[in-house]
Symmetry: C2
DNA sequence: CCGTCACGATCAGTTTATCTTATCGACATG
DNA sequence: CATGTCGATAAGATAAACTGATCGTGACGG
């Protein structure tokens, strides 16, 4: 009979590729884990692990089973959390993922408030790009992510927090006086600086300026908005700046111009696994985010 | 710590609403089951079952947890089956659901052949309407269903087996000679006989004859095609007959007329849970079904 | 009003599962 | 060839789970 314990041990093997370390991960001794894996192999009648000199590897079947096991364990974890579904929101551990184009600008304002209003919240923050956050959320390594929506994941539930305008940032004094608004279509001739591949902000900026020919795009994307803005300040080009970053990234060597109506925006919101029970947390957090932004 | 055993026992309670019978279902004694349920309630810190005089009922939380438990147990069962994924197809137990407008016409031809070619197949057939089959497949009570596609379930994988033409069946001699084909739009004035609500064939017929006003539809749907055809034979109206039923349902008091091009068809195919490992079975079965139809 | 029944809870004792510690054997590496 | 790493195995301890007997409560019938 397959047990959850066996599945847990198998996923530990899958993560560590090492019996000893997997055992430590599961807080048991190595023989205990070895035996459970053997039991699992016998009850499924398939070899799951290749014990080779030097290192272990999962067989094809082992990888597939480990993958399914991981899904099942996440479902069980969500079931366990469901019990405490009507506890007050924002209490206890919460693993929150945030994309890099939000975290540095929102956290300084949100964290003090969050700590003041919800002192019992044990927040663990992870900052990385959307695709990694999505994977980790699906896998159960995160409880909630804050990113630009939509994510296109039917297994997630989402909640819009607010809209964030895109502005054009250019070197101070480089614009003709009097042109107060910029038409996205008119940006074709400018030198647009962008983040490197993988940042959703890059894709959003490109879709705002869809008329740009690929040749005018800076091939060497920067890895942080801060770097991009320093380039802008020194006249290397222009960029699209999310409004929420304006406070922090804008110096007096840079000026901001709004787009013509309808102004392009990105929708910032929260997402969680449908099977998890984080709606209350998401709603409370979204409310707080709207507050600190105002 | 939640265990699969506890989840199994809970689903048994959910199905039987009775500790004793649930225990029998799980092949344990009642105290064993009672204790596991109590353990589960303690580890989730929620009351799952209301022990009332006379009968037991699940609490709201209990119902939700039982539902999740059932999903998890299905996933585990599929994981267990995955091990034997590359065994020969159509061997061992296979629970197959078939809709009523297919089963009586295809089974007489398919079953002998199936038995001849796959003597080791232990086939259990369930015949009921699509919606029930879909629920049972999702729940893990069936392995495969044969129905009119699409089913609109992203958690299912499907395989088209063949197309089945719709024909018009009317009382013999009731048509004007020489009109060899019927235009779906021209059926507005006829008296269309249909199966009762819930049969997908009824909905398909209605969509073929979309121009029909609701008033001309027979309000008292029959519960079997056979009954409908007897009504047709006696001049009570006409009906749409799937071509595969023609052999069996058509007598010399009934005549069939084909529709004008493009002839309306239904797509018959197989569906299984994405997480299960029934593609090989489905492919083999679809192949055999195409053979016996030819 | 009391005996009986149905049903879930509880208890005691046994069986089974799982764990730990100690050790083995195979294979590297210096 | 000594040493270290790693997974398997063995023996005994501990924990989990089960059975069979029994209890307590409420329903029902005479």
């Amino acid at each position: 009979m397959v047990t959850l314990r066996q599945l847990r041990y198998l996923t530990a093997i899958s993560e560590t590729r090492h019996f000893g370390r997997a055992a430590k991960l599961c807080h048991v001794t190595q023989p205990a884990l070895s035996m459970q894996i053997q039991d699992l192999e016998h009850s499924l009648d398939v070899q799951l692990v290749e014990r080779r000199r030097g290192s272990v590897a999962l067989t094809a079947a082992g990888a597939e089973i480990a993958d399914r096991a991981s899904t099942i364990l996440t479902a069980v974890a969500d079931l366990e959390n469901y019990a405490s579904r009507d506890r007050p929101a924002l209490v206890g551990p919460l693993r929150l993922g945030i994309i890099p184009s939000i975290a540095p600008y929102l956290l300084p304002r949100a964290l003090p408030e969050l700590h003041r209003l919800h002192p019992d919240l044990d927040l663990r923050i992870r900052e990385t790009q959307t695709s990694a956050l999505v994977d980790e959320l699906a896998h159960g390594d995160l409880d909630l992510i804050l990113a630009a929506l939509p994510l296109g994941r039917p297994d997630f539930e989402t909640l819009d927090a607010f809209q964030d305008r895109f502005l054009v940032a250019r070197q101070a004094g480089s614009g003709r006086p009097g042109d107060e608004r910029i038409d996205p279509a008119s940006m074709a001739s400018e030198h647009l600086l962008l983040l490197e591949e993988g940042h959703c902000l890059r894709d959003q900026a490109l879709s705002v300026c869809s008329s740009l020919s690929p040749g005018t795009i800076n091939a060497f994307g920067a890895s942080s908005l801060s770097t991009v803005m320093h380039l802008v300040a020194n006249g290397y080009g222009i960029t699209l700046l999310p409004e929420m970053a304006a406070d922090i990234e804008v110096t007096d060597r840079v000026e901001l111009v709004r787009f013509t109506e309808p102004e392009p925006v990105r929708t910032i919101g929260l997402a969680w696994r449908r099977s998890s029970t984080r709606r209350a947390d998401a709603q409370a957090l979204a409310h707080l985010l709207r507050e600190v932004r105002a």
